[in-house]
Structures are given as structure tokens and as C-alpha cells.
Amino acid sequence: MREAILLAALSLATAASAADHPDFSGTWERYPPPNEKADPRYAPTPIPDPPLKPEFKVKWDSDQKKLQQRIEEGQPAGDNYVHCIPDGMPAMMMGMFPMEVFQRAEQINITQEAFNQTRRIYMNQPLPKWDTVDPSFYGQSVGHWEGDTLVVETTGVKDYVTFRWAPHSESMKITERISLLAPDYLKDEVTVEDDHLANPWTWAWTFRRMKDYKLQEYVCEDNREYVSEDGSQHLRIDK
């Protein structure tokens, strides 16, 4: 009898916890959008420079100087978008356009409108070891719930798929703690660990729910822009 009550209580608790997970489904835009001042309650934390080990920081610093010069000259920075290539992880979480979350108990997908980028998070599975997966733009992601927080771990991102031009290995691990700050505000606390970093690299993004927005298709099918040898950008108009 006692066991039966315990079992019943346990199964109730399980059912309740499954139903109790917050629902992130829907369409989100990064907060604050341009031209809007952030409410301090929901403001994201700034993204610091990557805490690279000294042997990697020298090159990063010098590349940043070149990049700053390009920006001042009004020339393209040479990121993926210029070449019609999607962001990959973790950059897609700050992609240019809105994103949509599809949530099921066993899998959560996130699609960023820019380049139709989709990442797939498999729930309650062990994180594969990085050298057992084929490296990819979004890596392999697994997730689990810790209370109302979705914890997502990602590894196996191609070493040339970078965020803020920070070098990394395919063994890089990205841990995200995703939770609701309010019914319409989602926080994504990111921690990047990699052997190029002296210590973990952390920041947080905020997203705000969009009402009635439908993501649009984005196939990068006709890139007519190119950067010539002198570094300036041109347009192919002889189509």
C-alpha cells in the first residue's frame, strides 16, 4: 500500500514536472532591437572580448585592429554573410533576424530567419564526445531541464566557424542556460569553454517574444557582391 502511494505520488510528480516546463515555443527577436533602449530588468549582458590565452591573443588583437580599420573605411568585415554562408554556433543565436523555437519533450529546434539556420537540441541524451561526431556549423546539441531552466550543451563546431573571430578547437563546448525572465522575455546565458581560452567566455542574450510574426524563407541564392583584390567591394551588374 505504502509503495503504491509512493508510486502514484512519483508518477504524479513526473507528469507535473513534464507539464511544468516553461514553453519557449514561438517567435523571438533579440532584445533590445535597434532604436530601442533596454528595460534594465531584461537587458542582456555585454559580450566581452574572448579571454584568449596569450599565444592566441596577439593575432586576435592584430586582426581586430585590421577589422576596425575596415569598418572605418566602410568596407566589409569579411564575415560569413558576405560570402552567403550562415553563422553557425554560437553566432546564429545573434543572427540578423527573428528566430523561432519549436519545442517538443524530446527535441527542441531553433530556426534563425537569416539563412534558414536550424539547430537541433536532443533532450535527455548524453553529450557525445567531440571526436566521435562530424564537425558541423551547429555542432551536436543535447539538452535537459534544471527546474525551469533549459540547459543545452553543444560541441563539434567546425574550427573555422567562429564567433567574434575567436579561434577555437572542434572540442569547444558551449553551455547555454535558457530561461524566461518574464512571460515574453527569454534569457540565454552562454558559457564557452575551449583550450584556446584562459578561462570560460560568458555573456547573456535576451530575446523578446513577437506576436503574430511568421518567419520568412531565406535562401542565399544570388550573391552578386564580391571583394576585389584591393579589398574594396563591388557589384556584378552584368547579369
Partner: protein
């Protein structure tokens, strides 16, 4: 109609458009933002593609002939949020276009505004549009 005022008014409307990026697909450095060129002529193509849409016009050259121009626009999703569709304009339409010309001298530019045959003025949602001077 005062062109500049019209543009400013419409730009205010764009404030509500979600997620307009500070920097778009590229830097727009290839366009001369210190001046504009106004073209009047017949649309030959309207291409609804990523990363950019394009509008081609055979514009009056002022000598009784025409000259072909290719104008870059933003991406379809941004245009859509700004009220455009793939059917906003079609080949054969006679339109007036204002563009920032290409710096390298090719006959093309960045579309800043388009007046449709019915007189409707459309803005293509250029990021930081206020930085592009309309002088024509």
C-alpha cells in the same frame, strides 16, 4: 511634393519594423552616399532573391534613348516587413527611382525610393537610410 520630407516621414514609419540590423549583409561602402541619381523609365526585371533583391530599369537617357541600370535592394524578408512583396512592381511598369550610385562608375546603385505607376512611393528599408543623401 517635397521629396526629402516624404522620405523622412516614411523613415519614421520604419521604426516599428522588427530587428533591422545595424549592419546588414555588407557595408554598403560601394555606393556613393553623398549624392543621388533619379531615374525614370521602364522596369525590365524585379528579382526577389537573397541576399539582396534587384530592380533593373531601362531609364531615359535624356537624349531620346535609354540606358540600363541595376539597383540593389535589401533582402526579401526586410522588404516584406516594409510593405513590399514580389508583386509590388513588374516588368513594363514605368517608374521613377532614386538611387545612391555605385562608386566604381558601373550603371547601378542602391535603391533609396521608388515611385510606382500609381504614384505610390515605396521605401526599400535601407539600414541607416538617413546617411544616404538625396540630392537629385
Amino acid at each position: 511634393m517635397n521629396l526629402k520630407f516624404g522620405v523622412r516621414g516614411a523613415a519614421l514609419l520604419l521604426v516599428g519594423v522588427p530587428a533591422l540590423p545595424a549592419l546588414a549583409h555588407h557595408s554598403f561602402a560601394m555606393f556613393d552616399n553623398t549624392r543621388s541619381v533619379t531615374l525614370h523609365g521602364k522596369v525590365t526585371a524585379y528579382q526577389w532573391t537573397n541576399p539582396h533583391s534587384y530592380l533593373d530599369i531601362d531609364a531615359d537617357d535624356g537624349k531620346g534613348g535609354t540606358k540600363h541600370y541595376t539597383m540593389e535592394m535589401t533582402s526579401p524578408n526586410m522588404l516584406h516587413r516594409g510593405g513590399w512583396s514580389s508583386r509590388t512592381v513588374k516588368p513594363g511598369d514605368v517608374v521613377t527611382a532614386v538611387m545612391s550610385p555605385l562608386r566604381d562608375g558601373q550603371s547601378g546603385g542602391l535603391l533609396l525610393e521608388l515611385t510606382l505607376p500609381n504614384g505610390t512611393k515605396m521605401l526599400p528599408g535601407v539600414p541607416n537610410a538617413q546617411r544616404y543623401k538625396i540630392t537629385s
